[in-house]
Amino acid sequence: MYKVAEMMRASWRIARSYKMNLVFSILALFFTTIPFYLVAHAMQPMMGKVVANEGGDYFGFVLLGLIAISLLSTALTSVYQAVSGSISSGWLEAQLGTSTSMPVLLLGMSAYEFLWTLLRVTVLLLYGWTLGVHVHWSGIALGLPVLLLLCVAYYGLGLVLAAMYLAFRTIGPLQSVIVTGSVLLGGVYYPTTVIPSWIQSLSVVVPMTYGLRATRRLLLDGASWSAVQTDVGMIAAIAALMMMLGVAAFQLSFDHARRRGTLSLY
């Protein structure tokens, strides 16, 4: 953990050297949320019944969707971006030249992004609360681990993206496919129950479906553990599967890059 902490410290120092970017990334939260607030309120009469099982407040529903999307994006892209950014400069190879293990390096390279995203989504949640979202704070203790499992699942997919980049120097449209698929099929802006049945069957393989539904029920509806345990079980299983897939893909790709000598080529 000490190594990860030092890597995070360096990332923080780099991030704070871009002062305007740091300020704007927080300020942007307040401005980008306003349109969602207004639209959600306009649509509340229609959507209130649809999201009744997940709190009944459509703005709260969307707000948690936005939070999940932020976490998904970071989990999916942090490793891939760290790897792609450090290959061309030789930074990745330099770090691999130390005896620090690969999992620690990967965690360290993406840890700051996670913490920063966590801070931003916390601000977003508090902002939503001040705008009238009824948050069941008692559900936080269970809601946070569920969101963490959601992150783990997408982190596994992020490892697959990083593996693809190591092997092919491109990830093609995979990142867009995953993000768009998760948004459309995972119930970010509407519950999965409203999408056509033939597409709905696809949503059962999207981690977002289970993670987001469980989180909403815990935080917006005040649901008990027993009410969400099926969803939590599913997201836990998917997270384990995705991580295994990601680790295996990355290890394969890393070995391939060492054989081909492409760890520092771009």
Binding site: M7, G90, W91
Partner: protein, 357 residues
Amino acid sequence: MISATEISVVTPAPLTQRPTAIACDGLVKSFPIRRGWREALRAPFATRWQLVTDHLSCDIAQGELFGLLGPNGAGKSTLMRMLATAVLPDAGTATIHGADVVSDARAVRDMIGNVAANERAVLWRISARDNLRYFAALLGLRGAARTRRIEEVLELVELADTGEKMVGEFSSGMRQRLLIARALLGSPRVLLLDEPTRSLDPISARQFRRFITRLIREETKCTVLLATHSTDEAMELCDRIGVLDRGRLLAVGKPTELGAELTRNSFRAWLGLDAEAALDRLVARGVVVGWSAGPGMEDLFREFAVEVTDGHQGAAELVRALVGAGVDVARVERVPVSAADIIERVLATSSGRDADV
């Protein structure tokens, strides 16, 4: 007139009495060749390979500063990266102080300091001290020991005064020194320097070489493998030089020996203007292998490049024969070899041998 094929390639010099730090035995590495669209479409799964390291064997003694000299694409960086465990060899073995670079990579990483060729391989938006702190953590250094070591290496590379400055504001030379400081953090037993002066102007490069000499000879005393295509750098810094081309180690020797061996039969003679006919006769007698008129002209003497058969003995015989033939001899001296000549001659010799085969 001077035939390169007749210059013998130096065979690997015997090891010094010191124990071996780096041992390479039959290292082979090939990389796939990038293909054009047409070829890729015609045979999507076919791969053509380029041999980058061709059964390379060498031993480097502890405390030795060994230079790998060769043109671009010779295989220098690939060898360095195999030793740094970043590239896996296809065949052969390499060990650092007995630890295998494949099966014992972690132990190898603990023993080496790798100075990358790319000066972007540092974090530009933070200070030199923070860069070193980051790497010290990866090396497992903590607390007061870490702080002490960071200050030590900053002193060593003469960056202590600028340690708080953002690396992006450093000059290329300062960044190179930072890379060395980073490599020295873990007190490595072997330092790998891959073209450290590549991005430096000539004056900075000379300063940097002085700095390296002082650092290695007086301060750290670790084994150094220096890859460079600057012959001056190799000549100035190294105890021994290995000339590498197309993945093959063509010659190994001390800089002076290497030059002397390759030019042991090459002499520059200042002879009377009527020497040409006499030189032709000496060629026919076998005293002289070949000759060519040089550009120099001094009073009544002209410069000739003459190739004899037996080093100084051959030169003595040349003088006797020329005097006997009535040719005025002002002076005869061994050709001072430039470093560039060494590479050219080794490569030419190698090509000649290949052609003979």
